[in-house]
Amino acid sequence: MAGKNAKAKAQRERRREAARRRSEARAVLAGVGLDLDDDLVGIGVVFEHLGPSQAVLFGVNAINDLCRNVVGVDIALFVEKQMRPSVVPSCPVFGVEQMASWKKPLIATSTITCLAALQTQAPIVAHYVLYPDFADRTDLSIEEIRRAFCDPRVRVFVRSQDYVALLRNEFGIEAHPVPDFQITEMLKVVLPELRR
């Protein structure tokens, strides 16, 4: 009798532990706008290069944190210029030419990478504006620059609240302020939209 009670008690304990772990995992996934029942989500992040730069410092550190903490999101990096990384990423790194067959959301880190991302079949392109680099791109036409900000597939995120007003005046768009490449904040916007 005592043995039967102990077995039932152990089973209850296991179920309680499973429920606790489930709610823990659900809370982590809710942090990026996902649910426990969702499929594994793939996200690509496009960098010009992985050498010393502020985009790499913020971006790769945030991606490494995400890889460590969130199981349901699979991240790949796409790089235009191959060079030794200043911050070592803990996810796979591909050349930008391999992005052509990518069909999952992409995060672009500059105007030029956003235009490259728009040439793929990515359903959503999150354009993270670390600084308003479009003013320097004299090699791009105004139509191309407008496309990087106003294309229906593009969602614009900016590093500073000041840039929200700048982009509103320049392109008439509403950008989401996300300080220092907090990728989870961007995913909270992108992933629920993708699910819909």
Binding site: P52, S53, Q54, L57, V87
Partner: protein, 249 residues
């Protein structure tokens, strides 16, 4: 409280009317610098006299004539200040090197300010916080506000610089804070041969050893200045870029 030793180097050339407000903005920082060195680049106006007045320096007997001392030390509102008078033919690189040598041994972070520019009261504190929290950051630049002669203001958006972007276009923002250790790692502090692209040349080298961190806030003000890229400036920029690329192998 940080454990950094900050020296701010101010370059002045014919800045009689604005040098006082530049130094005032430095001593009024929430985290004041440990030393200010003001190098007068052979001004033909009363810039050096204003500096000596601020420190209470008197003319001395020099070669049979009474003249202001070529180098003076004193305190201005509790902050040690050194003034340095450079000959008119000295290049900006030579002036910066001479000014930095005065406090090279004890300094861990060098700040730079051009005469006429005014630091926001938080600039040094925020820049030190960035350098301390990001060991890979070698220098901190920020956005700034241009003050027009008619009294208006215009916010200028700075850039996040890296090696490739610097190759695409030069930067001339000399109002920044730089880690001394990074300068040592990147080679000589400033090229004494250069007349115009001294900071650009330094930043090209710094971008190879770490990150030039950009703060997206307006942290200094500077008067409206029409910068004309003459042929000489363009040639110097091209020369600097080629020299650095050659050095990088």
């Amino acid at each position: 409280m940080d454990f950094e030793n900050v020296t701010v180097v101010a370059l002045a050339h014919n800045g009689e009317r604005c040098i006082r407000r530049t130094v005032d903005s430095l001593v009024a920082q929430t985290r004041p610098p440990d030393r200010i060195v003001v190098a007068d680049m052979g001004s033909s106006d009363g810039t050096y006299r204003v500096l000596c007045d601020m420190l209470g320096l008197e003319p001395i007997e020099h070669e049979g004539k009474r003249a202001l001392p070529p180098k003076g030390e004193g305190a201005y509102r509790g902050v040690p200040v050194t003034t340095l008078r450079m000959p008119p033919q000295a290049t900006p690189g030579q002036c910066l090197r001479a000014a930095m040598e005065i406090a090279w041994a004890e300094t861990t972070i060098f700040g730079f300010v051009s005469a006429g520019a005014v630091y926001h009261p938080n600039k040094i504190e925020k820049s030190i916080a960035v350098l301390q929290s990001n060991p890979i950051a070698v220098a901190v630049v920020s956005d700034f506000t241009i003050e027009h002669t008619d009294g208006g203001e215009r916010r200028e958006y700075g850039r996040s610089f890296d090696w490739f972007r610097l190759l695409g276009g030069p930067m001339h923002d000399s109002n920044c804070l730089v880690r001394k250790a990074a300068m040592e790692q990147a080679g000589a502090a400033f090229d004494p041969q250069l007349h115009h692209a001294v900071f650009y040349e330094l930043f090209l080298r710094l971008a190879r050893v770490g990150i030039i961190y950009h703060l997206p806030e307006s942290l200094h003000f500077r008067p409206e200045k029409k910068v004309k890229h003459t042929e000489a400036v363009r040639q110097e920029i091209i020369h600097v870029r080629q020299a650095v690329l050659k050095g990088a192998g």
